[in-house]
């Protein structure tokens, strides 16, 4: 598939210094917002985003315009929360957008706020993006000083205030209801759904939560139109996607490509191929929560539907590529250690399940595995699957399940080498 001719999201690669407000303005910056508040209705904005088929980039791929339409009529105030809690292992495209193209994100937040008739929007940014938060605050202050934000946007009656809210280190706060709890000043525990945030979200009011990359697409869609946007991508996954490639590739980084390029193209044409020309062993295609692929899947098309058909998901677009030096057992251990560390502790299957997975996997990586431990791993994740309160616990099932499915021989081999293998297995409850 040919590369894109201009970037939609990573416009910092086409326009040097686009983070500077004047440069952004010289390149059509804030024109979409100006046109919208002066000449278009909120419904017009919802319609164009819906027709463009913009899908949420945070992981679920739900159409953004459709989500905006879920708000109950005549209930105000309404809130918009931009989810900038980017913490999924292997994912770093929001980071680049915030650092290098902040005004396009801010304009996207403002357009979405206008579309849903919200006057106070929050950007919930992970605490580690301390510099990013300062950068966004400065960019918002610069835009407000020009009359693009704040009261009377572009001299109209529309008011849009954007507040940067820094988290403080918790992956779970990327889950939209945990994000709202955190914004309300509480620990980041997810809420029971329904009610969904669109009905009862921040402070109990109708709330839309959208991802950074999703909102950064919006100014270009509104300005250039549906046909322009749909030039790239597939019918069901239109537009471009910023994939983050990391691990054992020669040129790790963010690459914006049309939906539908193949994994092989991403790795070999964009990311410079494999380090030391080694073979691809494991591909984690959409963040730590996505089922692994192998070299056999290199020709999968990178769109929501094709990855689902391959038994995995596009997820966050964070692709981790690992070569044959990596042990599948070690990878499963590290990934479930992540989920154990980030489990919020609210529900038992996740809190205890991740604990037992890591404890048992540690025995495989450190020579303490006993005969029954492979069965124990199956047993633990089966008890977690479908029983966790939110997707974090469900995601913790994925690495160990795929590792055991794709590389059972590595677990057998670790067991065969384990000095403790003949010990009498203890029960799970020790």
């Amino acid at each position: 598939m040919p590369p894109i001719t201009e970037h939609v999201v990573l416009r910092d690669l086409d326009v040097p210094n686009i983070a500077d407000l004047d440069v952004y303005i010289q390149h059509e910056g804030y024109e979409a917002l100006r046109n919208a508040v002066k000449e278009k209705s909120p419904q017009d904005i919802i319609n164009v985003v819906k027709d463009a088929g913009l899908r949420g980039r945070g992981g679920a791929g739900f159409p953004a315009g459709v989500k905006w339409g879920f708000l109950p009529k005549d209930v105000y105030p309404r809130y918009l929360c931009c989810n900038a809690d980017e913490s999924e292992p292997g994912t770093f495209n929001n980071h680049q957008i915030i650092d290098r193209n902040p005004h396009q994100l801010i304009e996207g937040v403002a357009l979405a706020a206008y579309a849903i008739e919200c006057q106070k929007a929050f950007i919930y940014i992970r605490g580690e993006f301390a510099a990013g938060a300062l950068r966004l605050e400065k960019a918002i202050a610069d835009a407000t000083a020009r009359g693009f934000l704040g009261k009377n946007v572009f001299g109209t009656n529309t008011s849009i205030e954007i507040i940067v809210h820094r988290g403080a280190g918790a992956y779970i706060c990327g889950e939209e209801t945990a994000l709202l709890e955190s914004l309300e000043g509480k620990v980041g525990h997810p809420r029971l759904k329904p009610p969904f945030p669109a009905v009862a979200g921040l402070y109990g009011k109708p709330t839309i939560v959208n991802n950074v990359e999703t909102l950064t697409n919006v100014p270009r869609i509104v300005l250039k139109g549906v046909e322009w946007y749909r030039k790239n991508g597939t019918e069901k996954s239109p537009g471009t996607k910023v994939f983050s490639l990391s691990g054992h590739v020669n040129k790790p980084g963010n690459y914006e490509v049309p939906f539908g390029v193949t994994m092989r193209e991403l790795i070999y044409d964009y990311a410079g191929g494999m380090r030391d020309d080694k073979k691809v062993k494991i591909i984690v295609p959409g963040g730590a929560s996505s089922a692994w692929l192998t070299e056999a899947n290199l020709d999968v098309a990178m769109d929501y539907e094709s990855l689902a058909a391959a038994g995995t998901m596009l997820g966050s677009g964070g692709i981790i590529i690992l070569d044959e030096t990596v042990s599948a057992v070690e990878l499963a251990y590290k990934m479930d250690e992540f989920f154990k560390h980030e489990s919020c502790g609210k529900c038992t299957p996740c809190r205890e399940g991740t604990h037992y997975l890591v404890k048992t996997l540690h025995k495989f990586t450190h020579g303490g595995a006993v005969k029954n431990d492979i069965n124990k791993l199956h047993d633990v994740y089966n008890q977690m699957a479908g029983n966790c309160f939110c997707l974090l616990g469900e995601s913790a099932v994925v690495p160990i399940r795929t590792a055991l499915r794709l590389f059972p021989e590595e677990f057998e081999a670790a067991l065969a080498k384990s000095p403790a293998r003949h010990a009498i297995p203890l029960t799970l409850a020790h």
Binding site: P89, G90, R126, A131, G169, A170, G185, G247, I320, H341
Partner: protein
């Protein structure tokens, strides 16, 4: 001096952003943490009073979030990502280098009180593996002991000059 006396205007500006005071909890805790070097019981009580929150609620929040430190930390907190993919791109070697150069283990603070070393999860900078944050400033591609030496010496100079030191990241480098 209380936080109200030293940071009153900043705290009021933050409180004004939200319909409910409690939403300001993380921002006010960050201020307290920088002012006192850690979130001691007294600091937590003071923040609770500022927010009209119960002391228990504030303790709970401090216990939940990893960037809020109730134990004393160094002037600079070094947080090395040991997650996937960094774990397979030199993170363990980086932790080892830092431990030997600083003479401490992970989760410890140097005797001179300058550095705390921690292992953390994904920092969303995987393209720069192995990567760490020093008071939440990113430093990537730390693949050799020489690069680590250079970083530590830069940080020692900054500490000596008291140049924008904030464990809460409130003075992060743009």
């Amino acid at each position: 001096m209380s936080l109200r006396q030293t940071h009153g205007a900043e705290i009021d500006a933050i409180l004004a952003l939200y319909p409910h005071k409690r939403s300001a909890i993380l921002a006010v805790l960050y201020i307290a943490q920088d002012a006192y070097g850690q979130l001691s019981d007294a600091a937590i009580r003071e923040v609770a009073e500022i927010l009209d929150a119960t002391v228990t609620d504030v303790f709970e929040v401090v216990g939940f979030y990893t960037l809020l430190y109730d134990d004393k930390v160094g002037k600079v907190v070094l947080q090395v990502c040991d997650d996937v993919p960094c774990a397979f791109c030199g993170a363990e070697e980086l932790v080892g280098t830092l431990e030997s150069k600083l003479g401490i283990k992970s989760e410890e603070t140097t005797a001179d009180g300058l550095f705390t070393l921690q292992r953390v999860k994904c920092l969303a900078a995987c393209n720069r593996a192995p990567v760490l944050q020093a008071n939440l400033d990113y430093h990537g591609e730390l693949s050799t002991p020489e690069k680590v030496d250079e970083l530590l010496s830069q940080l020692r100079t900054r500490i000596a000059n008291n140049d924008n030191i904030s464990i809460s990241g409130r003075k992060a480098t743009l």
